[in-house]
Symmetry: C2
Subunit: 324 residues, 2 copies
């Protein structure tokens, strides 16, 4: 049986979730693919943390070159987050002939063309299913089985933190600040929640979705953006009286002339809209194509194991295409 | 630019929808793939029917050999429906080196191994995204991006006719027979509705989903099956009083020992279950995997254009993998 050796960059929550996903399901993956996948090297400073996985000290390195130059490694997973040094590391991996998988929406949104072109120049595959919607397979759907469509509209709830906050405000009539503090205490919101609550994370994801669906490049910082910090319990109650729910929506729509209109902002949705029932940490992406009509994908948009599912799905797809 | 020539077997509603999908979106597909897709030959007796598409008399043939033996055709789409002669035609196409795409759940459910093995023996690709859930990309999700999961459970609303009937009975408090007659008059139900209302169509689809998710082969006729003909308006009202909805569900679940339990039957779902809100002709498939957790895919499970979207998605994927 062929063994596929993988280098992992970043061993935080998502890195650990990816490692766990492979550990849990290695035998099933072996049976389905006829290949054995092993994460042999891990770029990570913190070698002491208890992660609940079987990993030996000599798998760790603090020198990315040890992974780029390892002739046995064919696929590198980048889970460092942030634009740099993640982008530089991914480019360097590609230049060394490694296929690259990432969950890093900021790096993909900022450097999509550079990453795709570099992969093409070096004959390697670049995949990023986990960058939007976590475990929800929206990226592969848009770029494969739905590709016979002219896409008309995308609406997404693609940030679990803000959806959790809005859901709690709706269900318990609470104020934004109180729910945010509670979410921080429970680990559903970061200590500095800016990227989530101001819609920056959502803008990164919308930039990626628009590139795939409409072929346009919009910088995340050029997307008109309103976060949820100004939403009051009165806004939510007023919407509820009209049988509507307030959701933070990434929206992109093709107008009559083929121009794409886009925004990230809180929107009031009628209660019977497919996205209105998406609660708490769940994400969902609604797509309208001129052939397929309305589709919706719903699931866990974050979390170590759902994200690990998407990352490992990409890894297996690359191995199927290039190894065997 | 490379031209990909396609043979089409069957030019009824779904065949016409597939042809229309390609006609509508040929330029977009060209731009996205760098390939031009053309349906050059069509196996169909009825050459006179007005279908609202541009097709010339000499594209038609009544001899399948004209398509199997055409050296310019690389992909054959089978949309005849039914187990035979569709299965024999698909096998013959493969033996002649043609890749095959189908929407035919009865043929795939009945002859999955034979079709897959014959494709492998002849080095061609066999795809059937449209066979379950119409335009909903459940097949490719289960077999690619979700393949790092151990699947725990699948629940599907995968028949639009029965979901339409149950929805109308629920919304208007009508009796089954009255709604069925109305659905037949509107073209939402067949003159002979047996395959739909007795759950036979759903059993075919569940057999396919179980093969992909759990690797087991169950004959559709061996799936315990209850249709919707016995559902009364009183049943629906009684469920509503407990805030539940009755849906015809294809269910497969892995028990503690890894054994798969399966059935097709009307089930009462709590109103807040993701499948409870799936109304009328819409389909949805709920999947639980040990890494990705809960996912749901929602969309149009039938209809000429949504099905055409899935068929052409498969065709494009095959061309990307084999031609260029």
């Amino acid at each position: 049986m062929k063994t596929v050796k993988i280098g992992l960059m970043g061993f935080g929550n998502i890195g650990t979730g990816t490692y766990k996903t492979l550990e849990m399901n290695r035998e099933i993956i072996k049976k389905n693919t006829g290949m054995d996948f092993v994460i042999t090297r891990i770029l990570e400073k913190d070698t002491e943390r208890e992660r609940g996985v079987q990993v030996t000290r000599d798998q760790f390195t603090q020198n990315p070159e040890d992974i780029f130059k390892d002739p046995d490694i064919s696929i590198i997973i980048e889970l460092l987050g942030g634009i740099e040094p993640a982008t530089s590391f991914m480019l360097e991996a590609m230049k060394n002939g490694k296929h690259v998988v990432t969950a890093n929406k900021a790096a993909v949104a900022a450097n999509y063309d550079l990453l795709m072109d570099t992969a093409a120049d070096h004959g390697v595959i670049f995949k990023f299913e986990a960058s939007v919607g976590g475990g929800i397979p929206i990226i592969s759907a848009l770029t494969s089985v739905l590709q016979a469509n002219d896409y008309m509209e995308i609406l997404g709830i693609v940030n679990g933190t803000t959806n959790y906050i809005l859901t709690q405000m709706t269900e318990f009539g609470s104020e934004y600040e109180d729910v945010l503090k509670d979410a921080q205490a429970r680990g559903f919101a970061e200590a500095d929640p800016t990227a989530d609550v101001e819609g920056i994370d959502v803008a990164n994801k919308l930039a990626i979705l628009m590139t795939l669906a409409f072929g346009i490049r919009v910088k995340p910082e050029d997307i008109p953006r309103v976060g949820i910090t100004g939403i009051t319990k009165e806004d939510i109650q007023e919407a509820a009286q009209k049988n509507e729910k307030i959701k933070l929506i990434a929206a992109a729509k093709k107008d009559g002339e083929g121009k794409i209109e886009y925004s990230v902002k809180p929107m009031r949705l009628p209660a019977d809209h497919p996205l209105a029932g998406v609660s708490n940490e769940f994400n969902a992406i609604f797509v309208r194509g001129n052939a397929v009509d309305e589709l919706m994908f719903y699931g866990k948009g974050a979390g170590p194991l759902p994200t690990g599912s998407a990352v490992m799905g990409d890894v297996i797809e690359i191995a199927r295409k290039t190894i065997q």
